[in-house]
């Protein structure tokens, strides 16, 4: 399952934009821009969602000093109907496009595909990432925005953010992708759409464990193992699974979760942040910046995704989940 990249493709640049509530995020100073209008001055949430994707890509291209014609592939996805916001953004970006859906794990699955294309020599520069817009996602997966239902403590808040990274050939001064693990679709029988962390934790556990095993590594080889959007409870469960598998809890120090930390301790967001944009925004801003600053040398990014739809939930199905991981190093 593990892919080792001989050419070590690099993350050349990245762009992250986020919505108004994300100003409160503890990561907000790392984002390229936050906007006051959750619809980006467009008429509908979905149009705003599309605009957000375009702007994140533009930030990434501007930082690398390239134009859309310099980019070989555009890879990404979101959570709204057939990923239309990303599809429509691809139309405007005018770059060969592969849409990917791994729910909230799309941020990493797209980077894996981009890295493979780079490794194969098919791509010099690829844009890869993911996004989510709170209003558009909530209305599809749960209730209308203004519906007054009581969210339990286990619920998570879908973030409004887009994160896209430019993947290119190996450069020493940029963080480079050494290896990747594509996760299985794991189902431990969880069926509560307001408790996604619990559904996703086993998928994250399996992916991390198999990555470490096949790479002959231990947790302490990493400065940081960052999962995408397990939330506070999901992270607790993930740690619990490692403890049960015989790892001491002190050794779990590098294990963190972007969703759990995203909004700080603000209780209005319950168990933390979620959504494809959550992992994309944190991975492609905070993590990359910290690596370039030299804080982290070896990082495992594990994006987690719950592969449910409102239909499967209503038909009484459980929630299968996946997790994809990439190992990034900085010389």
């Amino acid at each position: 399952m593990v892919i080792v990249f001989q050419s070590k493709p690099s993350l050349i640049a990245a762009g992250v934009v986020a919505g108004p509530l994300e100003k409160r995020s503890i990561f907000s100073q790392h984002f390229d821009a936050t906007y006051d209008d959750e619809r980006w001055q467009m008429n509908t949430n979905e149009q705003g969602h599309r605009k957000m994707v375009e702007e994140a890509c533009e930030f990434a291209m501007k930082k690398a000093g390239v134009k859309n014609t310099d980019i070989d592939y555009f890879m990404g996805g979101d959570l709204v109907n057939q990923m239309t916001p990303t599809n429509f953004a691809a139309r405007d970006l005018d770059i060969p496009f592969i849409g990917l859906f791994s729910a909230c794990a799309t941020s990493i699955s797209s980077v894996i595909v981009a890295s493979l294309l780079t490794e194969a020599g098919a791509s010099n520069l690829s844009l890869a990432g993911a996004s989510s817009q709170h209003n558009a996602v909530e209305r599809q997966f749960r209730y209308p925005i203004n519906y007054g239902s009581q969210k339990p403590q286990t619920a998570q808040w879908t973030v409004t953010a887009a994160g896209y990274a430019l993947i290119g050939k190996h450069h020493e001064e940029y963080p480079s992708i050494e290896a990747a693990t594509v996760g299985k679709s794991v189902d431990y029988g969880m069926d509560d759409p307001f408790h996604m962390g619990a559904a996703m934790a086993p998928a994250a556990f399996q992916t991390i464990q198999s990555h470490l095993e096949q790479r002959n590594q231990k947790i302490y080889h990493y400065d940081l193992i960052l999962t995408g959007d397990l939330g506070q409870l999901g992270l607790k469960l993930l740690k619990g699974m490692f403890v049960e598998s015989g790892i001491k809890s002190e050794e779990l120090q590098p294990l963190r979760d972007a969703g759990a930390e995203f909004y700080g301790q603000d209780e209005t967001f319950q168990s933390g942040a979620s959504g494809a944009g959550c992992s994309a925004a944190v991975f492609f801003s905070y993590v990359i910046q910290q690596m370039r600053a030299g804080t982290y040398k070896r990082v495992l990014l594990v994006a987690t995704g719950a592969l449910l739809s409102p239909l499967t939930f209503q038909q009484g199905e459980t929630i299968p989940c996946t997790a994809h991981a990439i190992e990034i190093t900085m010389k």
Binding site: N146, Y147, G148, Q150, E244
Partner: protein
């Protein structure tokens, strides 16, 4: 780790909903909404030609009007987060379900969006209300016919 083992772990880690606190909040907010309803009802009795028996209809409509205002300004969902069933069970909650769906689907137009999705959430309440009314009236009719009960 086995599924059963994980489910055990999940049970241990997941906090139980604060039952007592939730019920108390639902009771207080629900009670308050009904008290406001009673005030509206008294208003209609005193200033309009409604009796205690007929004031229910205008009261319910007025409460749903309040729900529209609160829903439109995004306040009802905040009340809902605190009160739970306290704001969902009164008719204002039914109004909130209809109105929030209507506002949400405005972007798809008045016919396909608002018209098609108005009862997306509240439809089940209308369905079960009407169907149960039909069967109960039917049962009562049969019981009266065979002389078990009277009207």
């Amino acid at each position: 780790m086995e599924k059963e083992q994980y489910q055990q772990l999940e049970q241990n880690v997941t906090p139980k909903p604060p039952y007592f606190k939730n019920v108390a909040k639902a009771f207080l907010v629900g009670g308050l909404i009904c008290t406001i309803g009673q005030a509206v009802s008294l208003f209609y009795i005193i200033f309009f030609d409604f009796t205690e028996a007929t004031a229910g209809n205008p009261t319910v409509s007025t409460m749903i009007f309040f729900a529209m205002i609160l829903t439109g300004f995004g306040l009802y969902k905040k009340i809902g987060q605190i009160a739970g069933a306290g704001s969902a069970v009164p008719v204002t909650g039914f109004g909130n379900a209809v109105i929030s769906a209507a506002i949400e689907h405005r972007s798809e137009g008045l016919v396909l969006g608002v018209g098609g999705n108005l009862f997306k959430l509240a439809g089940s309440v209308v369905l079960f209300g009407v169907v149960s009314a039909f069967f109960i009236a039917l049962i009562k009719f049969i019981l009266v016919s065979i002389g078990v009960v009277s009207w």
